[in-house]
Symmetry: C2
Subunit: 450 residues, 2 copies
């Protein structure tokens, strides 16, 4: 008898309907049963409070979320299995049949990717039949939260790097093999120069970056032979990893390679000190043009320190700290019902004030071009400043082409130039003015009184 | 003109070949170019040092890693794109053709999933032609690291919960929509009773758990009506969320539902205090059988506190802290070349001692049945104790059926019963004896001298 094949866990991209919490399915069934499925609902996605160590966020993940939502559907075998679950077994079969026929046919408004955003501000709004709007909750939160965390961390690294190129090296430390795609894209949006993730690079046109691992060096009888073989094979694209045995000896060996290589990479030890010594060795050997790439547990703080010491480093490879957003690995992003059939809705749990009604956000800039405050209004109001939310999906179809990745990246650069100076310090508090219109305050008061 | 469709990022499960770091591809090309591709290599996967706050790990993620590795391949369009990258453009076309024909045809030995493991011990060994063994590095690390983090955190929650059932509620906080599958499975292995992730539950047969969201309650004119509607629809599977407006009033409303519901869920506020008050209200209303489920930022420490205060909680929903492994979101798991054509290999970077040669691990138990030490030997030695590594893949084929998820879960329960008492405290230091055989020490010394 041949062995049972291992269970693989790649979802069918055309069957993402149940990639969500069970309670969303229960509520969807409930809305059908109560005849409430077509009530027009608006849900909004926002962050209540920035995570510790963040003074702003870079919004990311929208394109993948939208692509998946436009294809969101249940396959017959999925509905069949759900109908057998103890809690669902007594449901009217017609309800499950209607779930199987369901597609997202509502509207989605969102901030554009790469935009700098703050707590308390609507980032995305879904207006759709209640059953469909509810369906999106878990999927949207999981699709937006992580890329936003990585883009935000990447922006901090960029700000610390003061122009030195940054490379995303984190695939192996991501939370599973799919997160690597999201991380590579988010880092690129925030200004990283490339990724080590080969398939992410291919699919999205991000510059692929690669050097060698210690195992390459170990596989040869000598470090010199391993370097020469690599340099011959990848002329004018050779970065040699010099710390397999002794870093400075490795630099000496790299400096002797002819023709000269492009760069060396140092991945352990005191990166600043080693970069100085490596630079000296390279220069003494007429290798002034050979660059030095540093990697190994780098984050924005370590990058800032290295830059402060003026260490001669020409590129930083950032992995684990970036792709796990280690100091803030979760984003408290929520998706809340704010309006149902034109009536404002709020949840009143202590410490969790929310404003009812579908909203728009207007951002003002000071004379220096930097952001000086966001004003949140009802969607039917206008105010001074640039409106941040635009419709991207209308009646279940893309309203217009989304920006390309390069456009998003340029937009992010422009946005990062707008961040108020005091928020750019790595230890800045999230001190940014967000105000709410009189109409929203009045709506909130009215609902609180009830 | 119709808008460009959004880019989706779901990889083709039959084209995972380039879901790896660029440097793996560069090295693979290099091994072909140097005629070294068929040298027999052994790489080993292990954790150098446990993350802070962990005194043991639960090994998980093997089944998905194996399933993907057995299918690992490049699609023609992937090879074509890679051949156009600047660094790869000058490569001999025959090398890329050979990469396209490559499949994994080596052997894999591994510890079984659900096993409790420690730093410094081989968890998995790949013995294969050098080019194929190198190929697996990034993929294996990303596939094993995250599930192991979640299973390890889940085991701590279980140990704090002292028998109270635990439910995995984290899908929305995972690092992207795929990580939710891995988290649900890992938590279940370590003893969680169910998951809120509907598709993970369906695919793997994990009990699906669901209640309702605040939006359900808000969608009705009154909390009572929202509760009644839900209870009618899901009889004998009704858990009511009571904290949308005022928690204790919500409990009163839930206590008045006829027939009686199964449980209430409290998701905010002082969970211990509210559980006591809710219990009193339920009992006064003849609702002694209605259970209380607590959720909201729970981790093993908070669960232990609640249990210590004897709060009348019948189940814990654990989300963010578990699925992001928030206090330790990255695992320093590495994959190192240890043997090439029978010769031991090591990397000598300071602070990173490794032992050369393919290895086996023997675990000893004390008279109380608990683990008292792991002894690492060369693969060709034997020693007292239970060998932890078994062959799962032979010449690129599954050697025998992998254990089912239920078998893995039972194995994990048995393993957790073997963890030494002193390691079970939540603040325990990772103090567990790991020793290396004389032969390994001698091999290491010999290589260090060179």
């Amino acid at each position: 008898m041949s062995p049972q094949p291992p269970v693989r866990l790649w979802p069918d991209p055309e069957g993402l309907g149940p990639v969500t919490d069970v309670y969303e399915l229960a509520m969807m069934a409930g809305y059908y049963a109560a005849g409430m499925e077509n009530l027009v609902a608006s849900f909004e996605l926002f962050v209540r409070k920035l995570p510790p160590g963040r003074s702003y966020l870079v919004f990311a993940g929208l394109e993948q979320a939208i692509g998946d939502i436009l294809a969101l559907a249940f396959k017959p075998e999925q509905i069949e299995a759900i109908s057998q679950w103890p809690a669902f077994r007594k449901l009217d079969r017609s309800i499950l049949a209607r779930m199987q026929a369901l597609r997202f046919e509502g509207d989605i408004w969102a901030v554009s990717e790469g935009t700098v955003v703050f707590a308390g501000v609507t980032l995305l709004r879904v207006t759709a039949p209640l059953v469909a709007a509810q369906w999106l909750e878990t999927y949207l939160l999981a699709s937006i939260g992580y890329p936003t965390l990585v883009a935000s961390k990447a922006a901090r690294c960029r700000s610390a790097a003061l122009g030195t190129p940054l490379f995303e090296f984190g695939a192996r430390r991501c939370h599973g093999p799919h997160a690597g795609f999201l991380a590579a894209r988010a880092a690129y949006i925030a200004g990283f120069a490339g990724t080590s993730h080969a398939e992410a690079a291919r699919l999205m046109g991000i510059p692929p970056i690669g050097t060698m691992a210690h195992s390459w060096v170990q596989s040869f009888d000598s470090e010199a032979e391993s370097f020469r073989t690599f340099a011959r094979l990848f002329p004018s694209h050779t970065t040699l990893l010099v710390d397999t045995y002794d870093t400075l000896e490795g630099v000496q060996v790299a400096a002797a390679i002819d023709p000269s290589v492009d760069a060396i990479r140092i991945d352990s030890g005191d990166l600043g000190e080693l970069a100085w010594q490596a630079r000296a060795i390279l220069d003494q050997n007429n290798r002034a043009q050979v660059k030095i790439i540093a990697s190994g547990d780098l984050d924005e703080h370590r990058i800032a320190e290295l830059n402060k010491s003026a260490a001669p480093i020409d590129g930083f490879g950032v992995g684990t700290e970036l792709v796990t957003s280690r100091d803030a690995p979760a984003l408290g992003v929520v998706y809340k019902l704010v309006e149902l059939e034109g009536q404002g809705k709020v949840k009143l749990s202590p410490g969790k004030k929310t404003y009812p009604m579908a909203k728009q956000v207007f951002r003002k800039r000071g004379p220096d071009g930097r952001f000086c405050g966001d004003h949140v209004t009802r969607a039917d109001e206008t105010a001074d400043g640039e409106p941040l939310l635009a419709r991207v999906v209308r009646a279940g179809r893309l309203d217009r082409s989304l920006p390309t990745l390069e456009e998003i990246r340029r937009h992010c650069t422009e946005q990062l130039a707008g961040v108020p100076e005091h928020l750019l310090k790595l230890d800045a508090k999230p001190d940014y003015p967000v105000t709410y219109s009189e109409a929203l305050e009045a709506d909130a008061r009215r609902l609180m009184r009830r």
